[in-house]
Symmetry: C2
């Protein structure tokens, strides 16, 4: 798809995609104290949008999400979580596509596949954004990390979809471990706390945080300390990956 032009994509689309169904990926990017979301600016469009697309008629839906993300942003091997289906009849806005196409000199009939209602399946992921290199597809001018607290104008219900994905991510912090692949292999308690604070967008009490996170039994305190700071050298931690993955699967506090 990446090298296909928009006209071919649209003409083929009617034949090759499942009608009425789309998917959208909310890729959150964490780095130091920043939480961002990956957005595209399509050519000829005023608004930004999530990387999204359609499902081939014979394609697994979850595999379609991986393919679409790769085609539109260049990102691969991202662990995507299905989080919600957005199925309101009025969520689709055929004018968005109509305007983009018109600027390319493409006029489609009102009953065209692309102008119909789409039920969209939302996926989300959380990555360390300095580890990945997003690249826009052929339909887009930009593919960029944008601050979740300062979003640009977005097409259709994409602002709502991002909000729901963020709610899901914040709720998951209550019962799933987070941090592996986001922090260095050895990290301090303040670094881990900052990750939680950034995702939750609030400050946490230092003592309560430490007590609670240690009670999960997913951390290993190392014999070494972090060197080079002005203050007393803080302890370094790493994740106990066996326990971490067990908790990912079963939840942090299972019966």
């Amino acid at each position: 798809m990446a090298k296909k032009n928009i006209k071919d994509f649209i003409i083929e689309g009617t034949e090759v995609y499942l009608p009425s169904l789309s998917l959208d990926c909310v890729i959150f990017g964490f780095h130091e104290t920043q939480l961002k979301v990956l957005l595209l600016k399509m050519k000829n469009a005023k608004q930004w949008c999530l990387p999204g697309g359609f499902v081939f008629k014979d394609e697994d839906v979850d595999e379609a999400a991986q393919r679409v993300l790769k085609e539109r942003t260049g990102l691969s091997k991202i662990f995507l979580h299905q989080f919600n289906v957005f199925g309101k009849p009025k969520r689709s806005d055929s004018n968005f596509h109509r305007e983009i196409l018109r600027k390319d000199g493409i006029e489609l009939k009102d009953d065209h596949w692309l102008f119909r209602r789409f039920v969209t399946i939302g996926y989300y992921a959380l990555v360390e954004y300095s580890h990945v290199n997003p690249e826009p597809d052929n339909f887009s001018d930009y593919c960029t990390w944008r601050d979740v607290n300062d979003l640009p104008d977005l097409m259709m219900d994409h602002r709502h979809i991002i909000g729901e994905a963020l709610n899901t991510l914040q709720t998951h912090l209550n019962y799933h471990p987070v941090g592996y692949n986001l922090l260095p292999a050895k990290f301090t308690m303040p670094q881990l706390q900052k990750l939680y604070e950034t995702i939750l967008n609030k400050n946490l009490d230092r003592r309560n945080f430490q007590r609670k996170i240690l009670s999960y039994g997913i951390l290993r305190r190392l014999e070494e300390v972090k060197k080079g700071g002005a203050h007393k050298a803080p302890f370094l931690y790493s994740f106990d990956l066996r326990k971490y993955h067990k908790a990912l699967k079963e939840g942090l506090q299972s019966w």
Copy 2:
């Protein structure tokens, strides 16, 4: 739909429903120490199935789930949770529908809407099954509670869908309160423990259960005790509904 015959339903279907999309409802029923699931046996079918259906072209997907459940089982005002999209290309089995229809003397072309691939959205709910009165729709002979540990032969991937719904329900026990509407307004600790044990399908340690469930702060111990037993009268509890609903929304252990 309930009074419509299957021929009309199929002829109309092509026009009125979103193509390629369906939904299935996994309704778990708890009563005393039993966990069941509500299944339909369609006329002329050998296998059982979940109450499922399709989405009207202009209908909200979540509202469609409520309507389908009502039409197929008579159940209304059930709080349905979307839990997963089942999107494997091979999950649809056109032979199931073909055989049922053939026995009714209905032959459809191979490219008929009903024989195409469907991506299905799974919903689940948990109810007290002695409080509801399921009734089969016009397409089905039976609409019955079946033991989750002893399921009959099921169509397509419906056994897998039930398994995934049960996993979701069990995981939710780790961070959401459960019991309101399933237990009497006043209940004993053993009654509440039995509910958890039934859903989890395992025994729990009495002391650990009590300590953990009390730590959530959602229970109120009443001044009265349960009378009439042979043993020492156990304390009665009720849910603190304000805290219960807060925990439903925010999770039991939020940061």
